[in-house]
């Protein structure tokens, strides 16, 4: 077997470019590969851990946490509820009573195979670097694509401030 043509070099250069195109497509035009459908409900608070608020779903309905109904609620730990439309990317602020009315599926993966996941970032100088979880952002992660969710945070730490409640049925 002899390499008497430039074909191996052409293929060797073309393959990385093809992968790069796939990455570009999956990042900037995810709707061409996977399109998420439906809505999900989430809550934002300055610090869920400190506030001691536990958002639980029983029989497909969000239950009203005691700390939310009790007065006086510490203003700093006020919880805001939102509905996120995955098709349009729009979010709508709703009241707790509205949130209680929705029938919710709490499974991690939606019917279209999407889940809410933190981002990732590279620490250090490549190749002497490591990939770490980036808690400042949340993504709608499908099998091949990931769309950044435009969510309003106070300090930018999604681990503290963000709680995914469920997919609206």
């Amino acid at each position: 077997m002899k390499s008497n043509s430039k074909r191996p070099v052409i293929v060797a250069l073309a393959l990385p470019l093809i992968l790069m195109l796939i990455i570009i497509l999956s990042i900037y035009l995810p709707e061409y590969l996977e399109s998420p459908e439906g809505r999900f409900i989430y809550a934002v608070c300055e610090d869920f851990n400190k506030a001691g608020i536990d958002l639980t779903v029983v029989n497909g309905r969000l239950t009203k946490p005691d700390t939310l109904g009790a007065a006086p609620i510490i203003e700093r730990f006020r919880v805001s509820f939102y509905i996120y439309n995955m098709e349009t990317g729009n979010r709508t602020n709703i009241e707790i009573d509205e949130a209680l009315d929705f029938e919710i599926d709490t499974s991690q993966v939606s019917s279209t195979g999407h889940k809410i996941a933190p981002g990732s970032r590279l620490e250090g100088i490549f190749p002497f670097s490591i990939i770490q979880v980036d808690s400042t952002v949340r993504y709608l992660k499908g099998k091949f694509t990931a769309q950044k969710l435009e969510l309003d945070f106070i300090h930018g730490n999604t681990e503290m401030e963000f709680r995914f409640i469920g997919w609206i049925k």
Binding site: M1, S3, V9, V11, A12, I27, G124, I131, A146
Partner: protein, 324 residues
């Protein structure tokens, strides 16, 4: 006698098994100066290795010196002791390469220059106020380095520039992919796929180089390429509970595909690396799927038998198809 006719005759004799590779080589060596040439080549290779090891130690020394005194150095000294050294050594290498007698020493200096250059550019971007750790800046650093090495290779055609062209362009490629997907939760997968594809490219480039004056690099590219390719394919198999069934099924096929390629292109390194990964895969799959049902003692016996079979076939293929 016409050279083409002679080579044609050798081909025909080889086909009939009337002449062996060793006989041909000994005839060639006898005509070309025999053992004296071997001795000379061995000395050149040995001195070349010493030059490169020396170069590596020099770079290590520079890195330690700068690291220890980083806070005491001002911006100018930082730049001078990194990028300055890289450029200075590069220029001195150019001067030495003009003289054939100092060619190897010149290449050793290029080696030092190329190793220090990334640190130098990192320092340059850092002191000019850029975030040198960010992916766009890292991409720019590797683009500059790749261009530097490509231009040097096209102008001077030295082995060392080809090596660093491949190394820096591979880094550039991964950094650009990271830059495109910055923040995405898929960064790890992107790294796996990028290195997998780079592995294939390395094998293809190695194959292309076999017919060129840089054929000495083919073996290294085959080894690195197959290690990257199978290493990343193995990583994509994942671990429970997030193991990927498709990659688990695909992996043995990829290994046997590479074994076939190793026989076709007569590459011992690809054969050994493929066999090594097959053994690791057997260990992994047995521990995931069979240790529970068969129990560990039986699973270990199964692993042992499969490893012996893999080892036997590796030696068999190597003797029958690659060494012959």
């Amino acid at each position: 006698m016409d050279k083409k006719l002679l080579l044609k005759n050798i081909e025909q004799l080889a086909e009939r098994g009337q002449v062996s590779k060793d006989e041909l080589l000994s005839a060639f060596n006898a005509g070309a100066g025999g053992d004296r040439i071997y001795e000379l080549l061995r000395n050149i290779s040995f001195s070349r290795v010493l030059y490169y090891i020396g170069g590596g130690i020099v770079v290590l020394g520079i890195a330690v010196l700068i690291g220890q005194n980083w806070d005491r150095l001002n911006a100018f000294t930082k730049l001078l002791s990194t990028l300055g050294i890289s450029l200075g050594v590069f220029i001195y290498g150019l001067v030495l390469c003009r003289n054939k007698g100092h060619d190897i020493l010149g290449q050793a200096l290029f080696f030092i220059s190329a190793l220090v250059a990334p640190i130098g550019l990192y320092v340059l971007f850092d002191i000019t106020g850029f975030n040198a750790s960010s992916m766009p800046v890292q991409s720019i650093i590797y683009i500059i380095l790749t261009l530097w090495m490509v231009i040097s290779f096209l102008k001077i055609r030295k082995f060392v520039f080809l090596i660093f062209t491949i190394v820096f362009s591979a880094n550039m490629y991964v950094c650009i992919n990271f830059m495109i997907a910055m923040g995405s939760p898929f960064l790890e997968k992107i790294l796996f796929y990028s290195l997998l594809i780079l592995g294939v490219s390395a094998i293809l480039i190695g194959y292309f180089l076999t017919e060129t004056e840089f054929s000495g690099l083919s073996g290294l590219l085959y080894a690195v390429g197959s290690a990257f390719f199978l290493g990343e394919a193995f990583a994509l198999c994942g671990y429970p509970p997030e193991n990927n069934r498709i990659w688990e099924i695909l992996f043995p096929a990829l290994v046997f595909g590479l074994v076939y390629i190793s026989v076709r292109i007569k590459s011992k390194s690809i054969l050994i690396i493929s066999s090594g990964y097959l053994m690791v895969f057997i260990l992994n799959i047995t521990s995931i799927y069979f240790s529970g049902s068969l129990g560990w003692p039986l699973a270990l016996m199964l692993i042992g038998i499969l490893l012996i079979i893999t080892g036997y076939f590796t030696i068999y293929l190597n003797k029958k198809y690659i060494l012959s």
